[in-house]
Amino acid sequence: MSGDSRSQAGPILSLRSLSKGFGGLKVFSDVSFDIEAGTVVGLIGPNGAGKSTLIGCVSGFLRPDSGSVKFEGSTITGIAPHTLCRAGVTRTFQHAYLLSHLSVLENVLVGCHVRARCGQVRALWRSRAVAAEEAALAASAMEALNSVGCAHLAHQKAGSLTAGQQRLVSVARALSSMPRVLLLDEPAAGLNESETTRLADALRSLRETGLTLLVIEHDIRLINAISDHLVVLADGGVIMEGEPAAVCAEPTVIKAYLGGLHAQ
C-alpha cells in the first residue's frame, strides 16, 4: 500500500478477457482494457451493452464467468465488495439510495465506515477516543460533501433533497471511503444543467488529487469534458477505445451509440 510500490508500475486497474452472461444471455465477452492511475476513463455504449454489468464485475458485486481484474497488480476477481472498498475500489449506483430520515452528513458518514479504527466495544460507553474519531470522520465527511458542492446541505434531511442533490451526495458518500479507484454508474442521470456542471468540476478536481475514475455516462458533453480516455462497449465487446475526440468522431461509434440515424 505504500506510495513507491505502485508508482508508474503499470495500470492501476486492468481488465483481462472478462466475460459475463446471465443464463443463456451473453452480456459481453473478452473485454480487456487498462486504466492508468490518476486518469478519468469514460465508459460509453448503447443501453444494454453491459456497462453496469462490467462495473458490477470490477467492484465485486458480480462474478465474471471468465477473465480477471487486477488492481495494482493483484487479482481482485471474486473478492467481496466490502473488502474491495477497504482496499480502495468502490462504486456508486444508478440510484442514490440515501437514508431519507437521516441527515445528509450522516449519510456521507456511512461511507467513512472503513476508515474508523476504534473498536465497537468502546462505543458502548462512548469513550473519548470514539467521540474524537466520530468528530474527525464528520469533518472528513464534510470535506467530501464540499468537494461535490453540497456542504451547505449537510444538516438537512436527505429525504428533502432533489434527485440531483441526492446523486451528488451519493458520490460524496463513495468519496468519503477515500477510494483510489471510484466507479461511477451514470452520476449525471437526473441532474440539471448547473448540477451537471458542478459534478464535472468536482470530478475534474478529484482527478487532480490523484483519484482514478471510471465513469459510465450517457451525457456525451460531460464525458468529453472530463475523460482522458474513452472505452466504447457495444455488441458484447469493446469496439473502440482512445482519445475522447477521436472516439467520438469514429463512424462505427456514432453508429453503435447513436443508432444508424446519425451515421450518415
Partner: protein
C-alpha cells in the same frame, strides 16, 4: 442531528494526503488517552442520556405513586423489555424481523436454571452462563440472517417452535412438560433480591442500562451500518460494510439480550416450564417494539409497559388481555408505524418550541 463534529462549512478543503496510507483518520491526541478513573467518570456522564435518566426517575417513583400492586406487572414488562431492547436493534435498526426471541429467552432461562440447580453455580455465574448459551444458540443459527422479510420471520418462528419441542423432548435435562423447579432465590454479590421491589429495581436497572449501551453503540458506525443494511444492502457493501457479519452481529446481540432476560425470568419465577415461552411471547415482543417505536432507544421498554402493565391495571381478564398485543401491533403498524416514543417526542418538541416562542 447526531454527529456534532466540527463543521467547516465554508472551508474549501480538498482531499490531500492521498499519497499517505489511505485510512488516515486523525488520531486523538495522546492527552486524551483514557485512564481508568476518567473512563469511569465518562461512563457516568455519557451513558445515562436524558431520556434514560428520566425513565429511571419515573421507574423509581412509580411504586410510590401507584402502590406496590403495580410491581409484578412492571417486573414482567421489564423482563420482556430487556429482550425487546435487543429486538429493537435487530428489527428496528437492521430490519430483521424475528418472531423467535422467546426461544432465545427460553435458552437463557433454562441454561441459567440448569447451572444454578444441577451445578450449584452462584447466580452471577448462572446468569452469565445463560447469556452465553443464548449467544451460542444465536451464533449457531446466525445463517438464517441471510434470509429476508417473510422468510426470516418464518425461519425464526420455526426456531421458536423447535426450541419449545426440544424443551419437552429432553425431559432429563429440562424436566419436560413437568417443568424445572427448585431455582434458588436470586442473590447477587451477597445482596438478596428477596422482595418484589428489589427485583423490580434490578430488572429495570438492567433494562435501562441495556437501553443506554444499545443507544451508544447505535449512535456510531454500528448504527449507521445497520441502517444502511436495512435500506439497501448493496449500498452498505459498497461502503465497505460486511453485510453478513453485521447482520449476524445484530442477531447475536439481540440473542444475548433475550437470553439475559430469560435468565432473570428464571430467577424471578423460580420455576420454568416450556409453556412459559409460548409463541405469543415472541409476538408480544415484536408488538412491544413496534408500539413503542422500533428506532427509538426507549421505544421497546415503553412498548412493553403499554402491552403488559396497562391491560393488567385495567383488569381486562386473560382472554381480552391476550388480544391486546396483536391488536395494538396491527393498529400501530397500520396507523402509527413509528411508534409511541417518536410521536411523543415530536409533540413535546413542538410544544417546547411554542413555549419558547
Amino acid at each position: 442531528m447526531r454527529p456534532k463534529g466540527p463543521a467547516p462549512r465554508e472551508q474549501a478543503v480538498k482531499f490531500d494526503d492521498r499519497e499517505a496510507d489511505r485510512p488516515d483518520v486523525a488520531q486523538p491526541a495522546a492527552g486524551l488517552a483514557a485512564t481508568p478513573m476518567s473512563s469511569l467518570g465518562r461512563i457516568w456522564v455519557r451513558v445515562p442520556q436524558k431520556g434514560v435518566l428520566a425513565a429511571a426517575v419515573i421507574v423509581l417513583l412509580l411504586p410510590q405513586l401507584l402502590g406496590d400492586d403495580i410491581l409484578p406487572s412492571m417486573i414482567l414488562a421489564g423482563l420482556l423489555g430487556i429482550a425487546a431492547v435487543g429486538l429493537g436493534l435487530l428489527a428496528g435498526r437492521a430490519g430483521l424481523v424475528s418472531l423467535g426471541q422467546a426461544a432465545l429467552m427460553a435458552v437463557g432461562g433454562y441454561s441459567a436454571a440448569y447451572a444454578a440447580v444441577r451445578w450449584d453455580w452462584p447466580a452471577e455465574a448462572a446468569l452469565l452462563f445463560g447469556t452465553f448459551a443464548g449467544l451460542v444458540v444465536a451464533w449457531v443459527t446466525s445463517p438464517i440472517c441471510r434470509l429476508r422479510g417473510f422468510y426470516l420471520a418464518t425461519a425464526t418462528l420455526t426456531l421458536a417452535l423447535i426450541v419449545q419441542r426440544l424443551l419437552v423432548a429432553f425431559a432429563s435435562l429440562t424436566g419436560g412438560g413437568n417443568g424445572f423447579p427448585g431455582i434458588p432465590p436470586l442473590s447477587l454479590f451477597g445482596y438478596e433480591f428477596n422482595s418484589e421491589f428489589r427485583f423490580y429495581v434490578l430488572v429495570w436497572g438492567v433494562a435501562l442500562l441495556g437501553v443506554a449501551l444499545n443507544d451508544n453503540l447505535l449512535r456510531g458506525r454500528f448504527g449507521r451500518a445497520l441502517d444502511t443494511i436495512h435500506g439497501d444492502e448493496a449500498t452498505a457493501a459498497a461502503a465497505g460494510v460486511n453485510v453478513g457479519r453485521y447482520k449476524s452481529a445484530a442477531w447475536l446481540i439481540s440473542g444475548g439480550y433475550a437470553a439475559l432476560a430469560g435468565g432473570l425470568y428464571a430467577y424471578y419465577n423460580l420455576f420454568l416450564s416450556p409453556d412459559q415461552f409460548p409463541l405469543s411471547m415472541s409476538i408480544e415482543l415484536i408488538a412491544g417494539v413496534v408500539v413503542g417505536g422500533a428506532a427509538a432507544a426507549l421505544g421497546p421498554l415503553v412498548g412493553m409497559v403499554a402491552l403488559v402493565v396497562i391491560p393488567t391495571r385495567l383488569d381486562l381478564g386473560p382472554s381480552v388481555s391476550a388480544m391486546i398485543a396483536p391488536a395494538l401491533l396491527v393498529i400501530f403498524a397500520s396507523f402509527l408505524p413509528r411508534g409511541i416514543v417518536p410521536h411523543v417526542r415530536d409533540l413535546s418538541d413542538s410544544l417546547l418550541r411554542r413555549v419558547r416562542g
